[in-house]
C-alpha cells in the first residue's frame, strides 16, 4: 500500500483539462466570504434583486432616490450577495482503495489514487472559482488534512496535502461522518469519494449519509470486477475467481474459505446489485449527486457526466 506521489497527482495536463468545469451552488448559506456563488444573503452585490422599505439604521447609500422622488417614500435597493461555497472533500483512504487488484498492470491504478486525483480535480475546480475547499480524508475515522481555504493558489497546497496522505485502516463511514458533523463546519458541499465498501453494509452507510447537514455529492469508485468478479482475472491469473479460494478481506484481513460455484457467483452479483441500487436510491431521495467513477477509465471524462454542460449545481 503506497500513497500517491505529488508528480503523479499533479499532472499539468490533468489540471488543464479541468478549467472548463464549474461547480455552482443553488444558494450558499450566509456568512461566507465574497465569492462567486449566489448567497441567501442580500447585500452589496452587483446584481439587483429586490426593494424593501427603509428602516432605521440602513445604509443611506442603498436608498433609491428616484422612487422617493416619485412616490415620496424611502426604499432601499437590495442586491445579490455573492459568497463562496465551502467544499469539504472526503477521499476514502481505507485499505480497500490501496489494494493492487491487477499487479503489474500500470493501466489499472489503485482505487485510492483515482479517488485522490478526483478529489484534487474537484478541489481545483472549487478553488478556481474562489470557493473554499477543506480536505477531510477518512477510513475508520476522519482526519482534518486541510481546513477550508480559498483561492486558486491553494490548489498546489491541496495537491501536496493529498500526496502526503497515508493509507488508513478499515472503512467506517458512519463514524467519519459523525465526527465531520461535530466539527460544526459552515454548511457547504460534502464530496465523499469512496468505494463505499463499508463492512457495516449499505444500510448503515446511507443512514449515516442521511444525517449529513451539507449538500452531498457521492463519487463511487467502481471497477468492472466489482459487479462481476469473474472479470477480475481469467482462470490462471493470480486473482482468478475460480476454484477453491481463501478470500482475504483487504480491509479487515479476515479470511473466509469459499468454493467458487455458479451459485456463489450469483449470490455475489445479487448482493452487489442491492448495494449499488441502495446507494442510488439514497442519492435520488436525498437529491445528492452520485457519480460512478470507473477507476480504470478517464477521470475528467467521467466527471463530465457530473458537470453536465460544464457545471454542476449543488
Amino acid at each position: 500500500m503506497v500513497s500517491i506521489s505529488f508528480e503523479e497527482l499533479f499532472d499539468p495536463h490533468f489540471m488543464e483539462s479541468l478549467h472548463h468545469l464549474r461547480l455552482v451552488a443553488g444558494r450558499v448559506p450566509m456568512g461566507g466570504r465574497f465569492a462567486e456563488q449566489r448567497s441567501k444573503d442580500l447585500g452589496h452585490g452587483i446584481e439587483f434583486r429586490d426593494f424593501r422599505p427603509y428602516a432605521v439604521g440602513d445604509d443611506l447609500r442603498a436608498v433609491d432616490w428616484n422612487i422617493y422622488r416619485r412616490l415620496g417614500r424611502v426604499f432601499l435597493r437590495l442586491f445579490e450577495e455573492m459568497e463562496d461555497l465551502p467544499v469539504y472533500l472526503m477521499p476514502d483512504l481505507s485499505r480497500s482503495g490501496f489494494l493492487d487488484e491487477a499487479p503489474g498492470d500500470p493501466g489499472r491504478p489503485l482505487r485510492a489514487h483515482v479517488g485522490l486525483r478526483c478529489a484534487l480535480a474537484l478541489g481545483a475546480i472549487a478553488l478556481g472559482q474562489h470557493d473554499s475547499v477543506g480536505l477531510f480524508p477518512f477510513s475508520d475515522d476522519v482526519q482534518v488534512a486541510m481546513r477550508p481555504q480559498s483561492g486558486s493558489g491553494r490548489t498546489m497546497t491541496l495537491a501536496k496535502q493529498l500526496a502526503a496522505l497515508e493509507p488508513g485502516g478499515g472503512t467506517d463511514l458512519a463514524q467519519s461522518l459523525k465526527k465531520l458533523g461535530a466539527m460544526n463546519l459552515r454548511r457547504g458541499l460534502v464530496v465523499v469519494i469512496s468505494d463505499f465498501f463499508d463492512p457495516a453494509g449499505i444500510e448503515a452507510v446511507t443512514k449515516a449519509l442521511g444525517r449529513v447537514r451539507h449538500e452531498l455529492v457521492l463519487v463511487r469508485l467502481v471497477r468492472a470486477g466489482d459487479a462481476d468478479p469473474t472479470e477480475a482475472g481469467g482462470p490462471g491469473s493470480p486473482n482468478s475467481m475460480s476454484g477453491d479460494l481463501r478470500l482475504v478481506d483487504a480491509e479487515s484481513g479476515e479470511t473466509r474459505d469459499l468454493s467458487i460455484t455458479p451459485e456463489a457467483l450469483n449470490a455475489y452479483r445479487s448482493a452487489y446489485a442491492r448495494f449499488r441500487d441502495g446507494l442510488a436510491d439514497f442519492a435520488q431521495r436525498r437529491r445528492a449527486g452520485l457519480v460512478e467513477l470507473d477507476v480504470d477509465g478517464d477521470i475528467v471524462e467521467q466527471l463530465g457526466a457530473l458537470f453536465e454542460g460544464g457545471r454542476y449545481e449543488a
Binding site: 480497500s96 482505487r111 479460494l245 481463501r246 448482493a271
Partner: protein
Amino acid sequence: MSFTNLSGGAVVLGALALVGVAFLLQRLKVRHREVVVPTTLFWREALERSDARKLVERFRHPLSFALICALLLLLWVALAGPAPDRTRGTHHLVLVDGGASMGRSLADAGAGPLAERRTRLDVALERAAELAEELPRARTRFVLTGAVPRTLLGPGEPTELLARRTADLVADAAPSRLAAELFELVEAHARGASLGFPPGEPVSVLVLGDLDAATAERVLARAGELTLEAVELPGELAANDAILGLGIAPAASGAWDAVDLWISTSGPAPAVLVGGQPRTPTPVDGGFALTDLGASGALVEVSLPAGDGLGLDDTAALYLPRRERLVVALDPALPAEAAGPLRAAVIADPGLDLLGVTTGDADVAIAFAPAGPLVPASLPTLRITEDADLAVVATRPPGTAPFEPLFEALALGSIGTDLGGEALAAPMQPHLAESVADGPATLAINGALLAAPFDLSEGRSLPLFVGLGTRWLAGQAELLPFAAVGRDLVTTERDGLGLPLRPRATGDFDLGEDRHHASLLDASTTFGSVAATLPPAADLGGGGDPDRTTPLLLLALALFMLEWFFLRTRRMP
C-alpha cells in the same frame, strides 16, 4: 501400449484403487488459493450458503469427482486393455504351404521378371494377414510348411510381426510338405497330443495351400474332432513346364564304367550340359536319354526354357558316378573245385578284370585261407575257409562302411535261399557275422557252401556274391540312380536314426566320398491343382481383438475437454 497380461480381476482392482485414490484426494483438506479482495461484503451470502453445506465439506465437487473418476477409468482401461479371456475357446492352426508349388505365378501376374511376378504364396500370405486380423490372436498360430516347418506367428504375438516375417518370403525349392504335416498333425491328435495348444480344447486347422483329393480324404478320415478347413486362394495359375525326372542307370550296353542318363520333362526337349559340354539327348519313350556316358563324376545340368509359371522346376542336375574296373587276383592255391566257379564269376562281371597269378597291381584278391604266399597280407581278400562255423564273416577296418548290401542280400535270400535254409542253420549259427579289426578288409565264406549240399557255385548267387564282395572289399561306392528333394535316396546309407536319407532342398550334398546333387523333380509341384479338396473355411470374422485403446483415449480427451470447459465457464470449481 497395453498391459494385456493383466487379468480381469487385476484390472478391476486397479480401477477400484484409482477411484479410491481420487476419493481420498477429494476428501483431503482443500488447499485454498489465497485471493485478496477489496471486500468480502458481497460474498457473505455465498459464504453463508456454503456454511450451510458444512456436512459435505471437503467433498463439495461431485461433478469434478465424477469426471476425474471417468477420466482415470478410461485411461486405465485404455492402458490395461482388458479383454475377455481369449486364450480359451477354439484354437486355430493356420498352415501356409511353403513348398515349391506355391511359387507358381498367377496367370494374370504379367510377363515381367519371374521374381517380380505375383505368386500363389503371395496370395496365401495376404490371406494369412487377413486371418491374423480376424482370428483371436491368443489362440492362433501360423505355420509355414516349407522344406522345414517354421512358425510365422505364435499365439499372442502382435499381428504386425507376421508382415515383417513374411516380407521377403519365397517358396522353398522343395516339394510341399503340407500333406505330410497334416498327416503328422492328425496322427498326433489321434494319439491325444496337444499340438501346442491347451489339451482338451477344440482345434481348427486352416489350410492355405493345395492337397490332392486322395490325401485330403485320408487326412479327413483320420481327423476325428480336429476341424480341417481350406481357405480359398483366388487366382488362376500360369502354365508351367518342368523337368520331372533325371536319373542314371548302369549302361544298357554292359559297359561297367559308363551309365545311361534318362530325362523326363513335361515340355520341350531340355538343354543338357555334361561337364559343361552341350549334349543332345535322344527322345525315347516317355522322355529323353543319353547312353554310355562315361562314369567320370562329371556334372550333368539339364534345363528348360525359362518364362513359365515356376522357375524352380526348370533346372535339374546330377553328378555322374565314378566307376572304375577292379583288378582281381586269384590265388593259385585255391582248390580247383572252388577256383573254377570263382574265376568264371570274375570273368563274367564286366567291372572286374582277372589278374593271373601276379598280385602286384590287384585291387582285391580271392584266396584260400590261409592264403598262399603270392597274396600279400595287405590286400583286401575274399577268403574261402573250411574251419569257420559261420557262413559269412566280414571283417573291416575301423571307420569303413559295413557290408550291409551283402548282408541285406543274404538276409533277403537274393544271393541264395540255401543260406537261410534249415540245413545251414543247425551247424553254423549265426550264419552271418561282421567284425571290426585293423588291417585290410576281408570277407570269409565257408568253403562248405561251395560244395554239396549247398553248392553255391551252381546257382546264380555266386557271381552276385563275388561282385558285391569284391566291390565292398575295394571300397567302391554304390550307384545312386537319382536324387530328388523330399524323396528317399536309393542307397543303403542311413542317417543317425537309421532312417533313409532324404534331401530337404535342392543343391549339392556329399554321400560317402562322392558328391551328389538333389533336384526338385516333383510332379505334384508342376501339376498341382488349385481345386479345393478340404471343406471351405466358414466366416471367421468377429474373433479378432479390435483396437479399443484409441477410442478410449479419444473419449478421455473429450472428457478432459469437457472438464476444462466446465472449469473455464466456472460451472465447476
